[in-house]
Structure formats: C-alpha cells, structure tokens
Symmetry: C2
Subunit: 264 residues, 2 copies
C-alpha cells in the first residue's frame, strides 16, 4: 500500500508530479485506470456536484465521504480540504486525521477564505502545525492564495515567500501557490522555499514543461478537468441534436460498467 | 410550475422532444442553464458517480436523493428508476410516488434486468399499472429492452409491439425502446403503438432528424453525455501535461460558482 512517503518521492524539483484532480468516483476511477499514480480532488467539483458553493466550508461531509468512496482505487489520493472547515486548529487536525484514516496520503490546506480575504498568517500557521502534530505521516501541502486574493501591503511575491516559509517552518511538506504566476515568480519561490512547490496548470499560459523548468515539483489541474466536463455535456448534447456525432465520444456502456461499477 | 401535462405536450410524433440526461447537480444545472426545458437522468451516471453498477438495483437511495437535489432547477425532470428497485408492484408504486413528490414529472420504468434477461411481460405490466394507479399525474415511460436483451421466440419487433401495446393498455403514457433499431422499426412502432415513442440517440447511426421523420416523439441521450465527460477528463489531463491547451476548455471558475453553486 502506497503511503505519504511514496507520495513525497513523486515531488521532484524540475521534474514535477503531474496531478489531475477528480471530484467523484467516476472521475477518480477513470484517472486511476489511465495510469496516474496520484490524484487530487477539486473542491469546486465536489461542491458543484451537489449544488453547493466552493470555498464556503459547506462540503465537510461530502469531502470525507468522497475519500471513503475512493478507498480501494489503485491510486494515491491527496484531498482538497479547503481551509479545514474550521478556524479552530485542533478541529482542523481532527478533520485531517479522519481524512488520513479514510485512506488519503495528503491534504491541501488553504489560507484563502470564502469571503475573498486571506486568513491571518498566524492562524494558518497554527492549522498547519496542528495537523502535522496529529498526522505526522500525512503530506500537508500548505496553500497560500496570495496571487488570487491579493496581499495587503507587500508585493504578492514577498507575501508568498513570507507565508510559504512560515508554513514550512510549521511543518508543511509542500507549498501550493495557485494563480497566474509569471515564470520568474515560480523560479523565485521554488528556490527560496525549502519544500516542493506546487503550481496550477492554467491553459494558455505556461506549459507543463516551462513550469518544470522553473522549478515546480507538482503541477496540478485544480478545477480544470471538472470544468471541461461541463463543456463536454453541452457540446455533446448540441451535436447529438443538431449535426450529429459520427462516433461515440466516450468509453462504451460495457467499458464503464466493467471499470467504474466494480467497487462493490 | 411545470407539471406532467406540460411535459406530455412536449412529445410530438415527428417533432420530438430532445431530452439530454444528467446524473448530478452540475450536469443538470448546466443543461437547465443552456435552456433545455426538460432533462432525464441516466442510471449509469448516477451509479458510476458513486462506484456502483447500473441496472443492479443498488441506487434506490441515490436516485431519490438526486431528485431532491434537483428540485428548484428551472427544468422538468424525468427519472430513470431502472426496474423500480423491486419486483413487488406496490413497492414500485410507492417508490414512484416518492419520486413524484420530490418534484419529478415523469419516470422511465424498464423491463430489462441486471442479469440480462427480460422481466415477464405480466410483471412489468403490473408495475406500470400499479404506478399509474397511485401516481395519476406522473408521466410513465414504459421501457422495453427487447432490442438490447433479445426476445425469446418472437422477432424483436414483434415482441416490442406486443410489450409496448400491453404497457400502454396498462396506463403507460409513453414507450421507450432503446437499442439500435433500424429506421423501419422506429416507423413501425411509432405507428402501431398508441403512445409517444422514445428512442435513444446513438452516434454514428440515425440522426435526430431521421428519427423524427420516422415518427419518434422523444429522443434521449441515455448515458452518452456522462460517457463523453469521461473522455473529456482523460483528454484534458493528457493535453495539459503534454502539448498544452491553448485556452480553457470549460466555463470559468467564477461562472461555475455563480451558476452551479447557487442552490443554497
């Protein structure tokens, strides 16, 4: 059984782990079946699947239920737990412990809040520390939303470096800086923070290879795959009704039944 | 509020309702947002989303929960309830009643079984009758799997005509014959059964317009949209890691949050 140490080894500066993100059993199973060794979850997908808003702390139950559902898939799982669904560090640690015991090898823990502000550095640092004290084997990826939400006072890069280094000092195993970073910022963070750097793949900006060359150790897809399925739904429906589809755009019914319905 | 009578009016022989099928809140909401007046559900998608097998009677709870989740979307909903999750007609009627009270305007009730056999005609007829006795306002679409599962003794067309006419006599508001019917069979069933005929859109075979011309009154997509999303997941992930995506293939994060996260 793969554990957090195996997962940590997949993070190589300059030769990053490509991490696709799932939101339900079907998306996770199809990615596992395609050979990805590790997958993440996307809180947007988990929330939207059940009609809830992302980053609003509403999917505590659904997130844990998803991890339990994915237990047994031959893939390492790291889980987007938003801001830990609490501002009480010991409650966050308790939740992370349940996520770990349900079978995950890692979590993403973010300092962005649903109201569009950054949590105080000290609070997020305390959460990271509490989770690592309780779950020593869990790969804790500390995410800072400085590039998404702004960085009162400092430049985004300075605030990012400050926060990342504090989170690593508190025990974080990796740092995650989502948003549209220029390639110089990726290089600066990856060289000035002593932990693997995770960045987001954003279509139309830097390629995976460019992010690798700048020192990224993990490149994840966030909500990209989930959002691409929404386009697929509308396009496939429109083409079925209008010009017609020359061939089936997905795996067959039998293939889906065989590969995705085999959990029970 | 739209009801089953409004839904029935959408079924016009030769000018069919195009009915796309959803499996979770996100897929239903994106279709409702695109202007479809009615949507169905796909039991394959509902099952695979949670790692269960389709047509095995395992998603009784998930199917009802999905209908409750979709209440409030501005779209008429008809629900794939497989074979009613029971071979006791009064239990099937009780379940259909819960589905109706949760907000659906219709159900699909199938005579195919998880073991690959057709239920006895008399049993399925009794289920249709029980549901219509209890839920007079519900649009009951009686599905026969003669073309998928074979038709011991008779030709598939003869067995289909026999079953469809019996189901209509028992009160069915429409009949659904999935599978690869030739266009002559569509024409024969639509003219020899006194109820709207629903057929499945199958890529690479007849177009929507051809099915319309043969007399179909509803053309649905079954598991097609769901299966197309599985392809989208793998293709988007592969392109993100390899050649790169020139632009984002889906609605933006903000668009998804605004349109799909607004239920609560």
């Amino acid at each position: 059984v793969a554990n957090a140490a195996d997962f940590a080894l997949l993070h190589r500066r300059g030769d990053p782990l490509f991490l696709p993100n799932a939101w339900d059993y079907a998306s996770a199973a199809i990615l596992a079946g395609a050979g990805y060794r590790a997958i993440g979850t996307t809180s947007l997908g988990v929330a939207a699947s059940v009609g809830k808003r992302d980053a609003s702390g509403e999917t505590r139950h659904e997130t844990l239920a998803l991890v339990r559902l994915l237990t047994g898939l031959p893939v390492m799982l790291t889980v987007d737990i938003e801001s830990g669904f609490s501002d009480n560090p010991s409650e966050v640690a308790e939740y992370a412990d349940m996520i770990e015991r349900a079978g995950a090898v890692g979590v993403n823990l973010e300092d962005g809040r649903g109201d569009g502000t950054l949590a105080p550095l000290e609070l997020h640092r305390a959460k990271v520390q509490a989770v690592k004290s309780r779950c020593r084997e869990l790969f804790v990826n500390a995410r800072t939303d400085t590039y998404w939400l702004g960085s009162a006072g400092h430049s985004p890069l300075d605030e990012t470096l400050l926060r990342c280094n504090e989170y690593v000092e508190a025990g974080a195993d990796g740092v995650f800086v989502p948003g549209a970073l220029d390639i110089g910022a990726v290089a600066a963070i990856s060289s000035q923070v002593d932990a693997p750097l995770n960045v987001l793949y954003l279509p139309g900006t830097h390629t995976f290879n460019e992010l690798a060359g700048a020192g990224a150790a993990r490149v994840s897809t966030g909500s990209l795959l989930f959002r691409s399925t929404l386009r697929a739904v509308l396009e496939t429906a429109s083409r079925a009704q209008n010009q017609g589809l020359p061939s089936d755009p997905g795996p067959s019914y039998r293939e889906v039944q065989a590969s995705l319905g085999s959990r029970l």
